[in-house]
């Protein structure tokens, strides 16, 4: 069998059955199914919010301010009488969007950097790795604080701040994979045929790095949400009037001394449930896709 031509031809059927195999092994674990289910529910609810939510998140109701959870308002109301459940769902849109965008940007940039760095080696590798090292010289949240403070409170800037701190994760991961596979036979074969370097890196080798990347990205989604929430809590992230889980929790902080517990509790719970689901899903994916990483 000629390895020269078959690299792409054989991958397509292999990938399809790999997906089926993945699903089968994933569905064995109850927790991961529950996590996946929760995430799907959260995502769908967030996406369909304008349609399915009974209340307008910004509509005040002077008669029903600071009401505890009831049948009318499942999660209670805030100082202005706004329905908390609706606000939490709408805030979820923001958190998920930020996390998704940040992860996508970090993944693309990090994978590209890591791939080039790992494949080319030499001074390019040294330079790029020094840049990565510099980013990692700070605790990531602190760096995100600095970038968010420097750029300003807009959503795009928060995405950039988080993305920058996440780039090293993917860069190192892909670089490691690259170092491992660039000497393998199919890479050699692709080189022999005369493929340009860029094509080899991005078309032939990179797709084989998917499994650990998928695991990391899933876990990183959780971190991204925690980061944007914490940034918003201390005031460096998303600011009102846009609602966001961390900011909503901050609003609730002042009410602890007066006993209105539902204002801080539910947004935080939403964060925890979502992050937990991403973590469980990521762990399950890791067990299924990359048993080498097991045990952590």
């Amino acid at each position: 069998m000629s390895t020269l031509v078959s690299v792409s031809a054989d991958e397509a059927p292999a990938r399809r059955s790999a997906a089926a195999l993945l699903w089968r092994r994933l569905s064995r674990n109850v927790m991961s199914l529950a996590a996946l289910g929760l995430l799907v529910v959260v995502a769908l609810t967030a996406a369909a919010a304008p349609v399915i939510m009974p209340y307008d998140p910004d509509a005040p109701d002077a008669e029903r301010t600071l009401e505890p959870p009831s049948r009318r308002h499942w999660l209670g109301t805030d100082l202005y009488g706004r329905d908390q459940l609706t606000r939490i769902v709408y805030a979820g849109r923001v958190d998920l969007l930020v996390a998704l965008e940040a992860t996508a940007v970090a993944l693309s940039l990090g994978a590209a950097l890591g791939a080039v760095s790992g494949y080319r080696g030499g001074w390019i590798d040294q330079v790029l790795m020094r840049i990565i090292d510099t980013i990692q010289a700070f605790p990531s949240f602190i760096l995100a604080m600095g970038i968010a403070a420097a750029l300003g409170n807009r959503l795009t800037n928060i995405v950039i701040a988080i993305a920058i701190t996440h780039v090293p994760i993917y860069a190192r991961l892909i670089r490691g994979e690259m170092l491992r596979i660039r000497e393998m036979e199919y890479a050699e074969a692709a080189r022999t045929v005369g493929n340009p370097r860029r094509r080899i890196i991005f078309y032939h080798l990179l797709p084989n790095c998917f499994p650990p990347v998928v695991v990391q990205a899933t876990l990183a989604m959780g971190f991204a949400i925690l980061t944007v929430a914490a940034l918003s809590y201390i005031g460096l992230g998303i600011r009102p009037p846009t609602s966001e889980w961390g900011a909503m929790t901050a609003e609730g902080a002042g009410y602890i001394v007066s006993g209105e517990w539902w204002i801080f509790l539910f947004p935080g719970l939403a964060i925890m449930a979502t992050v937990l689901s991403f973590n469980l899903l990521g762990d399950a994916l890791r067990d299924v896709l990359d048993p080498r990483m097991k045990g952590v």
Partner: protein, 336 residues
């Protein structure tokens, strides 16, 4: 060993440069014109231009970076508008509060987290293991600010055992004479019982919250390492040699587990710093994190970048210290 030491120490230098470069870039791209702010609201355009020239803001970026570095060496981290003092002074004044909180939280995390991880690995699938895994998975998903608020609600509002989050000492208690800046230590040294009690009382909840937030990842890592060690060849050989359980598990295995755990302490410190900012915010703890955030709220952007720089530099040195300790403890590095 010497080679390892030298390489590690030398590597610190370019890393520090990198750190200063990053914070410089962040300061550079900050919105707003510092000359405008410094010149005051009544300044004329000429005044502003003159101020710009004096502050070197019209120079190319590289020159400005050089000035920035020189300023750092002189200890010039800018000034804070809200306090009116040099940022460095503010930071130094507030570091002890952060330090006390961080040390207390670290103690909590180590004292509870490490044994928990070890026992979870030794009695795999026992109830303690399940608890530790639950804590690990759940704890990592809980936002620290939320844990803090939850703790406040339960222990302060509902149960009334925790004090109101108003700072390091209850109102009305005079602080002890300044020795280390750590109120617990200072009041102990000065034998002021009331101050000590109050300081501890105020410290407990934030320390527990912060400690818990780093305990989760720490326990997970300790457990994983211990499991790996327990499966190693030399442990199997130790069993085959008839050594008692206590020696094999809590002697050999534990020693080998603790060595890589040392390297984790650097990462743990990073988590602590991150959690610190949030916990100080929740509990109104007068540390450097709170300072930076509060300044930011008043549009005072200098402190936050200096805070980032400060933390970055400390982080670099903490990691260096961790590496050096590791090199001393692990015979494979200590003796080439």
């Amino acid at each position: 060993m010497l080679g390892y030491l030298c390489t590690r120490v030398l590597l610190v230098v370019p890393t520090l440069f990198g750190v200063t470069l990053v914070t410089f870039v962040l300061t550079y791209i900050l919105p707003g014109n510092p000359a405008l702010v410094k010149a005051g609201p009544l300044a004329t355009p000429q005044h502003i231009a003159e101020m710009e020239r004096r502050m070197g803001l019209d120079q190319p970026m590289a020159v400005q970076y050089w000035r920035y570095l020189r300023g750092l060496f002189r200890g010039d981290l800018g000034e804070s508008h809200t306090t009116g003092r040099p940022v460095l002074e503010d930071l130094i004044q507030r570091v002890p509060a952060t330090l006390e909180l961080t040390l207390a939280a670290l103690a909590v995390a180590l004292v509870v987290g490490i044994p928990l991880g070890v026992v979870a690995a030794v009695r795999r699938d026992g109830w303690l293991d399940h608890v530790s895994r639950l804590l690990g998975v759940g704890g990592v998903a809980m936002p620290t600010f939320w844990t803090g608020l939850l703790a406040l609600y339960i222990f302060f509002y509902a149960l009334g055992v925790a004090p109101p989050p108003l700072g390091r000492l209850a109102t009305g208690i005079t602080p002890p004479p300044l020795v280390t800046g750590l109120l617990t230590v200072d009041s102990l040294l000065a034998r002021e019982g009331r101050a000590l009690a109050s300081a501890l009382h105020q410290l407990v909840l934030p320390a527990l919250v912060l400690g818990f937030s780093v305990m989760a990842p720490l326990t997970r890592m300790v457990r994983a390492t211990m499991l790996e060690v327990l499966e190693s060849d030399y442990i199997k050989a130790a069993w085959a040699a008839g050594l008692p359980r206590r020696t094999v598990i809590y002697g050999d295995a534990l020693r080998n587990c603790m060595i890589p755990v040392i390297t984790l302490l650097g990462v743990v410190f990073g988590f602590l710093m991150a959690g610190n900012v949030v916990v100080e915010s929740v509990f109104a703890w007068p540390g450097i994190g709170n300072y930076a955030v509060a300044a930011m709220m008043s549009k005072d952007s200098g402190p936050i970048q200096s805070f980032v720089l400060f933390v970055g530099v400390v982080y670099v040195f903490v990691n260096l210290a961790v590496d050096l300790v590791y090199g001393l403890v692990d015979p494979r590095i200590r003796l080439r």
